[in-house]
Structure formats: structure tokens, C-alpha cells
């Protein structure tokens, strides 16, 4: 996707607000289970239903997770307090949201994107989630619907809202920021990172300006449920804003809704229609001061973050040379899926890092949760078997698929599949058979057309039932050509 403002006199300025559902066992202010997808209104109690007389009690695990987010984002984790954000909303049981306002738990951090661009993180604060409405009729929107059903299972689920500085300059950077943040949240165990389930929700503040000029009026875009939506919405709204300004009008400050099907944003409410939230300190809760010992413990328990894990793997895979783009992509995938320990483990057992990386990023990545359950020994063995030629690449992939699906050791699976490496004479015989029936292609290969090699590999695979190793076939072909050219 190319950026609308690339190469033009216009620059897009983006700040992102990312709402992260924390993976606590229970909700933020009560002991109801924090779980997704249960029967509606079963994970509720007087507190999260906001029944008269009920009072919130802060979940200390949520505080620890929020502090962990702060530490991972290089932020200051500070004494904080809760405020009430007042507005009427049927999904919100108390008609106010308990959130943080003037003193968020985390302030003044940053996040480095993989390309090296640094994005400031102004704050990260704790707040409670709302319930979820289903509107009957009226196209699924509240307005014009025949009636609404509300599920309060999500009401009171802990959220951390991470607010970036307006340091993002393209849709690509915005996607990269969210992807990197997501990796960090998954790595630290505070979130499952599932955007499609709403575990991670993004609002984008977008404005445009002439390069180097003063900031323009911003619009807040809501309903960005995927990285794709995020990128498209920023592209679209930046283009819309440029068109508005170029036509001599002014961008009005408003909240806009991203329409995924239509591929455009529509106004939701103007600045004048914005709520007056009447924030005031939450009198039912006391200030939160994470003790220094807790922060020390959280810091010491901090797992290696994705940037460091990528660096470690790249260093290993590139062996001092400039890493290829393909290798970088494989490393990013492997780290993102949490398969880097598998690759590192295989490498430390003597398996080829390059091959382990490829199998992890391509085949294991198709079923990441099964892949994370693989034993490092088995995976290392599989890679070594392929590397030594005992298994062909095709066979190795089939064995790996079986390991992911049903488990078992690679040796046993290979044996049960009848994968025995062909001995050299069997392989030569197979090659000869193929060459005998494809004389024209052979001549082209002898004349230097390297692409025909792939064709021969495929043919040899066919006659050997996939048992041949592609590299071995290529070696035999090359030797055979040398022999035929010899005087």
C-alpha cells in the first residue's frame, strides 16, 4: 500500500490510542472471570453490573500488568489514581467509566519501530471495559434498531490504554507501531493480542500539514479492528483532509467512524457534540502506589522483548553477514509467533540455523500453538535429518506437519511414512529414467538453461514417490552434465 502523502508536499501526522484487554484471571474491580466468548451475562456480579450499593476493589494483578506494560515501553511507572468519566451509555452499567485521568500509572515512555523510528508513548493508564450491545434490526447499529441486547460479561474487564505521541508519519508506520506494540504485549504475557476478538482496539488521531508546517486539526477515527483497517483508514482520511484543505476549506475537529466495507470514514460526532465527561476523582478507590520492590521484581521478571529477540536471531542466522530481507522477514515471523526459542534451541543443538528458521517461519508458523508445544529436541532432530540429506525437503515438511498434528519423534514418523533416503545408486537410476524420456529438456539443460533443473527435480520426485532429496538430484544432474560435456 503506498502512502497518499509520499512524495507530496503534505505530511500526515498520526497519534494512536491502543486499548489492550489484560489477560488477568478476573475483572478489574470484582472477582468475575475475565473470559471471552462465554454465554452472555454469566460472568457478572453486583459490582460489574453496577448494582446500587456495590463498590469496586482494585485487582492487584491488573496493576502489575499495567506496570509491566510501562516498564516494557520505557515509561515512568508512578503513583496514580482513578477518576470517573461520566457519560450515559447503555453498555456501561454505572453510566460512568472508572479510568485514570491526571495521574496515569505509566507516563513518558517510547517504542522503537523495527525500522529504527522512535514513537513517544505519552501515557498508559488503567480503565474498565464496557459491555457489548447487539442491536436487532436497523443494520446492526443502535440508531434505527428495533431493540438492543446487552452482554455485560465484558463490563469491568481490565484495559490498559496506551496513548502514543503524534510521532507517526505514515499509515505504514502506524501499522508497524501497532504490530510492534502487540508483539511486546504478547511477549510480556499481558495480552493475547487478538485484534479480531477485540483484545486490542485502536483509535487513530489523524491530521495533515504541509511538510514542516504547523499541526492541522485532527480527526479521531474509531472502529479500526485490524492492521489493514488501520492503514486504509489513515490513508483515506489523510487524503480526505488534504482534499478539504486544498479546496480552501478547513478540517473540522470530529470523531469519525471507519466503514470497512465502503472503505471510507463517516462523521460520528462533532467537537460541539462531544461529551463533557465531568471527570472527578473516584471516591470509592484509594490512590495506587506500586511499591519500588514490586517494580524491581517486575523488571527482573521481564522476558526478552521482541526487538532483542529479533536481534539475537538475526545475529545467529546471518553469521556476521548483512542479513537478507527474506531472513529478516522470517525472523520477524518467528519472533512474532513466539517460535524463536524453538529455532535457538535447535541451533544450540547443532542444527542449521538457516534451515531451522525456514521450517519455523514457513511450516511451523501454520500452526503456531502446536509449534510452541514441539520439543526442541524433536525439532532439532528433524532439521538435522533434512540438513544431512536423510530426508528430502518435501519429506521434512511432511514429517513436521505430522509432528504438529499428532506429535511423535521425527525418526518414527519418517519410518512410518516409509521415508528412507534413497541410496546413491537408486537415485542415479531414477535420474537416468527421467532423462531417458525427456531428451529435449535434457539438451536444453546441457545448453545452460538452469530453469529446467526444477522440472527434472519434480520428475524425479514423482518416480521416487517423493523420497528423493531435491538438492541431491541437482547434484546428480550437475555431475551428469559435466560428464556429458567432458571431451
Amino acid at each position: 500500500m503506498s502512502d497518499v502523502t509520499t512524495g507530496s508536499e503534505w505530511e500526515v501526522v498520526v497519534g494512536l490510542e491502543v486499548h489492550v484487554e489484560l489477560r488477568t484471571a478476573t475483572k478489574l474491580f470484582c472477582s468475575c472471570p475475565n473470559s471471552f466468548g462465554d454465554v452472555p451475562n454469566t460472568n457478572v456480579c453486583p459490582v460489574c453490573l453496577g448494582l446500587p450499593g456495590s463498590l469496586p476493589v482494585l485487582n492487584s494483578r491488573a496493576v502489575e500488568m499495567a506496570a509491566t506494560v510501562g516498564l516494557a515501553l520505557n515509561a515512568r511507572v508512578q503513583p496514580s489514581r482513578f477518576h470517573r468519566k461520566n457519560y450515559f451509555y447503555p453498555d456501561m452499567p454505572k453510566d460512568y467509566q472508572i479510568s485514570q485521568y491526571d495521574l496515569p500509572i505509566c507516563a513518558a515512555g517510547w517504542l522503537d519501530l523495527p525500522d529504527g523510528h522512535r514513537v513517544g508513548v505519552e501515557r498508559a493508564h488503567l480503565e474498565e471495559d464496557t459491555g457489548k450491545s447487539t442491536h436487532l434490526g436497523g443494520g446492526g447499529r443502535l440508531h434505527g434498531s428495533d431493540g438492543s441486547l446487552v452482554d455485560y460479561n465484558r463490563a469491568g474487564v481490565p484495559l490498559v490504554e496506551v496513548v502514543s505521541a503524534p510521532d507517526i508519519r505514515s499509515a505504514e508506520q502506524a501499522r508497524s507501531y501497532v504490530a510492534e506494540l502487540r508483539s511486546i504485549l504478547v511477549a510480556t504475557g499481558v495480552s493475547d493480542g487478538r485484534m479480531e476478538e477485540g483484545s486490542l482496539r485502536v483509535d487513530a488521531n489523524v491530521s495533515v500539514r504541509r511538510r514542516g508546517g504547523t499541526l492541522g486539526t485532527r480527526c479521531e477515527i474509531k472502529n479500526l479492528n485490524s492492521l489493514r483497517s488501520l492503514g486504509r483508514a489513515i490513508e483515506h482520511d489523510a487524503a480526505r483532509q488534504v482534499a478539504v484543505v486544498e479546496s480552501g476549506r478547513q478540517v473540522s475537529q470530529e470523531t469519525r467512524h471507519w466503514n470497512e466495507e465502503g472503505g471510507h470514514t463517516v462523521p460520528l460526532r462533532s467537537k460541539e457534540e462531544a461529551f463533557d465527561y465531568r471527570y472527578f476523582p473516584e471516591p470509592d478507590l484509594v490512590p495506587v502506589e506500586p511499591p519500588g520492590e514490586l517494580l524491581d521484581r517486575l523488571a527482573s521478571e521481564m522476558p526478552p522483548l521482541p526487538a532483542e529477540r529479533r536481534r539475537r536471531l538475526i545475529d545467529l542466522a546471518s553469521e556476521g553477514r548483512q542479513p537478507s530481507r527474506a531472513a529478516e522477514d522470517q525472523v520477524a515471523t518467528v519472533v512474532d509467533l513466539g517460535l524463536d526459542d524453538l529455532v535457538l534451541g535447535a541451533a544450540s543443538r547443532g542444527a542449521s540455523t538457516r534451515l531451522a528458521l525456514a521450517r519455523a517461519a514457513n511450516e511451523a508458523a501454520t500452526d503456531p500453538s502446536a509449534a510452541r508445544g514441539l520439543s526442541v529436541e524433536s525439532f532439532a532432530k528433524l532439521v538435522s535429518m533434512e540438513d544431512s540429506g536423510r530426508l528430502s525437503a518435501t519429506q521434512a515438511k511432511a514429517v513436521l506437519a505430522r509432528m504438529l498434528g499428532e506429535g511423535g519423534s521425527p525418526e518414527q514418523i519418517a519410518a512410518s511414512l516409509g521415508y528412507e533416503a534413497l541410496d546413491p545408486s537408486q537415485l542415479s537410476a531414477a535420474v537416468e529414467t527421467v532423462l531417458a524420456t525427456n531428451g529435449a529438456e535434457w539438451q536444453r539443460f546441457v545448453d545452460g538453461d538452469e530453469k529446467v533443473a526444477g522440472f527434472f527435480v519434480g520428475q524425479v520426485m514423482r518416480v521416487t514417490g517423493g523420497k528423493a532429496d531435491g538438492r541431491a538430484v541437482r547434484q546428480v544432474l550437475a555431475q551428469r552434465r559435466l560428464d556429458s560435456l567432458a571431451p
Partner: protein, 509 residues
């Protein structure tokens, strides 16, 4: 009157049955409450069932607890599982809490028998119980007068012997002022001493639950049952409360008492004279008594009438017709919200919601809410300074005796002034108790107020005990609506004397 301690003692020792005590009080409610209207609901079968459990425990040799068989009334803003909790508001029409407030659990565990839920100003907003959606409560000493408020039903129920003890809530004086007007003891404990879990919130940073009783000792007894840390209330004090009863009669020898000018100023002559007499009584008992000034107390009323409505505007937002209580349908959600709230809330509640919403609005926050918070800090600092020189403070509870029904409803400001002496303790979060002193010329009760620093309940109640013992006292109400034979038959013989009204009465102290 028979004290709660006497009832509990007799029931625990098997001298009288909890069912008999409960029956006698329920019968009295049947007889009296048509005229007084203290109760919004009475759960006769529930009360008798609880009483029977108490009797069975005694028969089985188990101790039912310090309030065994004591009939207790609960202000109708305390959640009771399975019975309606209305806050005297139409908006909670039909709502039945699925849980008991912590204090209700504690009372039941101590053997108390809940006889019913009492009338109040809607959502505790008022000083006369006239702002109840279900009609006012009358003062048992003169049914043409108000009982005070907002916990007027609880105060009047205890004053008229329909319950031996009652709970109320005090946000700006809502326990102490009706206690004063009805001639009973009313205590507002330190903020956080009693769990607020299950108390329907009016102004969360000021609300506190406390007892009504016919004696200081009974108030202390009830306080010991309901006080203590509750993990369900984050503002609950972590430490366990000091024992109060054990040292209740230790006296006030050497205790430094300051009589606060600002807590007497503007009171009627008989109220002023009651405070002076109480001061003399304390001095006579060995306290050093001095007059003092705390000018910051004057900031209390205006700060309170910004802070309490601000919190209330948020606390009462949830009554939107979506989940429970009243719903008045409309073409869309917002219209339904508006129609429900318009129909469900009374004028005083609407007035305070609007006031509070305004005080928190962007552009006005600093001038109103912010300023009021600063004033609250000033009051707190002034008390802290005063408590460097004094152990306790003394003043009036209410500026006047009970006023006639309808007298102040048309003029909110005059109603708000009823709380001028009680509000400072709520702003500071400190304990304060109203103790009956005597009856005024109009035959209505006059009371004094004792105030102490945070957690000073033991000392405050010791001094209250001294005042109580020296007071001319308030005789039980003797209106026409009272029956000639009250609860005598069910009550322990040896504990009662006969009052002038023919009601059981404890012998003079």
C-alpha cells in the same frame, strides 16, 4: 425504654424468647406505624423466622451473638437480599437486591432480627424525611413535626420503641440531626470504620453508616458489631476498631474539651443552653472545658452542597431504566433515559443532580468542585489544629428542635441550614455523636453533639456516656397514637420499670 443490651442478655440467657420480642415489636409497628410512617416495608415472616433461629440456637446451647433477638430497623438505602430496597424513590420501583450489605450480614451474624426497612428522604437527600416518594414520617414526640432526616424513619422507629436499634446513614448529618430531633442517640463513626458495601451511595466520600439507639451503651454495642475492615470496601480502614464498650464508663477525668462557637452560633436559646449545661456536666466530671473558635467550620455548608451533589450526580447516573428499577419507554435509548429519570426522581434529587452536574462541568469545575475540595482541606486542617489543643469538641447537633411538617420544603436553603453543625464532621471524616439532653419549651427533644478526631470513638462515646448520665433526659414520646400497653409482656421483667406513659422503661440511671 428497654435497652438492646437488656433484650440480648435476656434472650441469650433463655429468660425470654426472641420470637416473643420480635412479635411484640412487630405488633407495635402494626399499631403505631399507620400514624408515624417510619417503615417502607416490614417483613413479618422473615423477622419471625430469624427470631426462631435465634431461639433454636439458644435452646441448642449456642450463643447467637451480642445482639441476640434484638429487633433492628434498617434505613431503606441498605441492601437486603430478597427484600425491596427503595431509597424512598420511585426509580428503584420493584428492585430487590440479590445481596446483603456488609452491615446487614454482620447484624444477622450477631443475632439481630431485622424487622423492616425505614423511611428516608429520597436517596438520603434532605433533612426532614419529607422528600420521600412515599410520604413523610412523623416525629413521635409531636406528629405534626418532622423527625429530621434523612434517616428520619430509623430515628422515629427507635424513639417510638418499634425497634430497639436502627441503622442510618450520615452524609451531612443524616443520623445525628434526626437523632437530635427524635430524642435518641445517633452516631456517625469515622469514615471507613463501617463498611459502605451495600449502602446505596449518595456521596461516596462522605457517606457513613451508623447506629441509632436509646442509650449511648446500646449505640456502642451496635458499633462494635458493625465496625471492622471489609475487603469489599476499598475505603474501609485496615485496622480493627478499638473496643468501645469495655471502657465506656471510664469517665472524662483530664480530658480536654473545646466548646466550638461556630457549632452553636445561630442556634435557638434552648439549644445554646443545652450545650452550656452539657459543658458544665463534663467539667464537673473532671474534664477541662474551654470555649474555642474554628472559623473554617463556616466553609462547610457551601463546600458540602457542591461536593455531595457532584458525587451524587455521578452515583445516580446508573438509574437509567436499562437494567433494573423503573423504566419509562421512549422512541430511543436517550428518550427512555430522560423519561425514566424525569418520572423516577423527586424534585430535591433532580435539584442536586443538576447542581452537581453543573459543578463538575468543563469550565466550571475549578470554580466550584475544585474550590469546594480546597475548602474541605481547610476544614480538615482546622480540625487537625483544634485537636492539638483538645481531645474532644462539643457543640449543638441541630440549630432548632423539630420543625413543623411542610415548614421548610418550599425553601431549600432553610432546609440545608439544618445541617450546618453536622456537616464539618463529614467533610473531615471524623466521628461525632448526638446525645439527647432534655426537652425544650415546646416539649420537643434538644440534643448536643460531641466530636472527636479520626478513630476516637472510644473517647467520644465515653464522654457521651457522661453527658447522658448528667442530662435531664428526654422522656419517651406520649402521643395519642401510642397504645396503652406496649411490649411489656414480651420483655424481661427485671429490666424494666414503668414509665409515665405506661410503656416499659428502664429505671433512672
Amino acid at each position: 425504654m428497654t435497652t438492646a443490651a437488656d433484650i440480648a442478655g435476656s434472650v441469650r440467657s433463655g429468660q425470654c424468647s426472641a420470637v416473643d420480642v420480635a412479635t411484640a415489636h412487630l405488633d407495635r409497628i402494626d399499631q403505631l406505624d399507620r400514624s408515624l410512617h417510619c417503615f417502607l416495608s416490614v417483613d413479618r415472616s422473615g423477622a419471625l423466622g430469624e427470631a426462631e433461629l435465634v431461639d433454636r440456637a439458644v435452646a441448642a446451647g449456642r450463643d447467637p451473638g451480642p445482639l441476640a433477638g434484638v429487633p433492628v430497623a434498617l434505613k431503606d438505602n441498605l441492601c437486603t437480599r430478597g427484600t425491596p430496597t427503595t431509597c424512598a424513590s420511585r426509580i428503584l420501583d420493584g428492585w430487590v437486591p440479590p445481596y446483603d450489605a456488609t452491615v446487614v450480614e454482620l447484624l444477622r451474624r450477631a443475632g439481630a432480627v431485622v424487622v423492616g426497612k425505614t423511611n428516608m428522604d429520597e436517596f438520603a437527600m434532605g433533612s426532614s424525611t419529607e422528600h420521600s416518594a412515599f410520604g413523610p414520617t412523623c416525629n413521635p414526640h409531636d406528629p405534626s413535626r418532622v423527625p429530621g432526616g434523612s434517616s428520619g424513619g430509623s430515628a422515629a422507629a427507635v424513639a417510638s420503641g418499634m425497634a430497639a436499634l436502627a441503622l442510618g446513614s450520615d452524609t451531612g448529618g443524616s443520623i445525628r440531626q434526626p437523632a437530635a430531633l427524635c430524642g435518641v442517640v445517633g452516631l456517625k463513626p469515622t469514615y471507613g470504620m463501617v463498611s459502605r458495601y451495600g449502602l446505596v451511595a449518595f456521596a461516596s466520600s462522605l457517606d457513613q453508616i451508623g447506629p441509632f439507639a436509646t442509650s449511648v451503651a446500646d449505640a456502642a454495642l451496635m458499633l462494635e458489631v458493625i465496625a471492622g475492615h471489609d475487603p469489599r470496601d476499598s475505603t474501609s480502614i485496615p485496622s480493627s476498631p478499638a473496643a468501645v464498650l469495655a471502657r465506656l464508663s471510664d469517665g472524662v477525668q483530664g480530658v480536654r474539651v473545646g466548646v466550638v462557637d461556630e457549632l452553636v452560633e445561630g442556634a435557638s436559646a434552648e439549644v445554646v443552653s443545652a450545650v452550656s449545661s452539657a459543658a458544665e456536666a463534663l467539667a464537673k466530671a473532671g474534664a477541662s472545658v474551654e470555649s474555642t473558635r474554628i472559623p473554617a467550620c463556616r466553609l462547610g455548608l457551601s463546600a458540602y452542597y457542591l461536593l455531595a451533589p457532584a458525587e451524587a450526580s455521578s452515583n445516580l447516573a446508573r438509574y437509567d431504566g436499562v437494567r433494573y428499577g423503573l423504566r419509562v419507554d421512549g422512541p430511543d435509548v436517550e428518550a427512555m433515559n430522560v423519561a425514566t429519570r424525569t418520572a423516577g426522581f423527586g424534585d430535591e434529587v433532580k435539584r442536586r443532580i443538576m447542581l452537581g452536574t453543573f459543578a463538575l462541568s468543563s469550565g466550571y469545575y475549578d470554580a466550584y468542585y475544585g474550590q469546594a475540595q480546597k475548602a474541605r482541606t481547610v476544614v480538615l486542617d482546622a480540625f487537625a489544629a483544634a485537636y492539638e489543643r483538645f481531645d474532644l469538641l462539643l457543640g449543638a447537633t441541630a440549630p432548632t428542635t423539630a420543625f413543623p411538617l411542610g415548614d421548610r420544603t418550599a425553601d431549600p436553603m432553610s432546609m440545608y441550614l439544618s445541617d450546618v453543625f453536622t456537616i464539618p464532621s463529614n467533610l473531615a471524616g471524623h466521628p461525632a455523636v448526638s446525645v439527647p439532653w432534655t426537652t425544650g419549651g415546646d416539649g420537643l427533644p434538644v440534643a448536643v453533639q460531641l466530636l472527636g478526631p479520626a478513630l476516637a470513638e472510644p473517647l467520644v462515646l465515653r464522654a457521651a456516656s457522661v453527658v447522658e448520665a448528667s442530662a435531664p433526659g428526654v422522656p419517651p414520646p406520649c402521643g395519642d397514637f401510642l397504645p396503652s400497653d406496649g411490649t411489656r409482656s414480651a420483655l424481661p421483667r427485671q429490666a424494666v420499670g414503668s414509665g409515665s406513659d405506661g410503656l416499659p422503661r428502664e429505671g433512672p440511671a
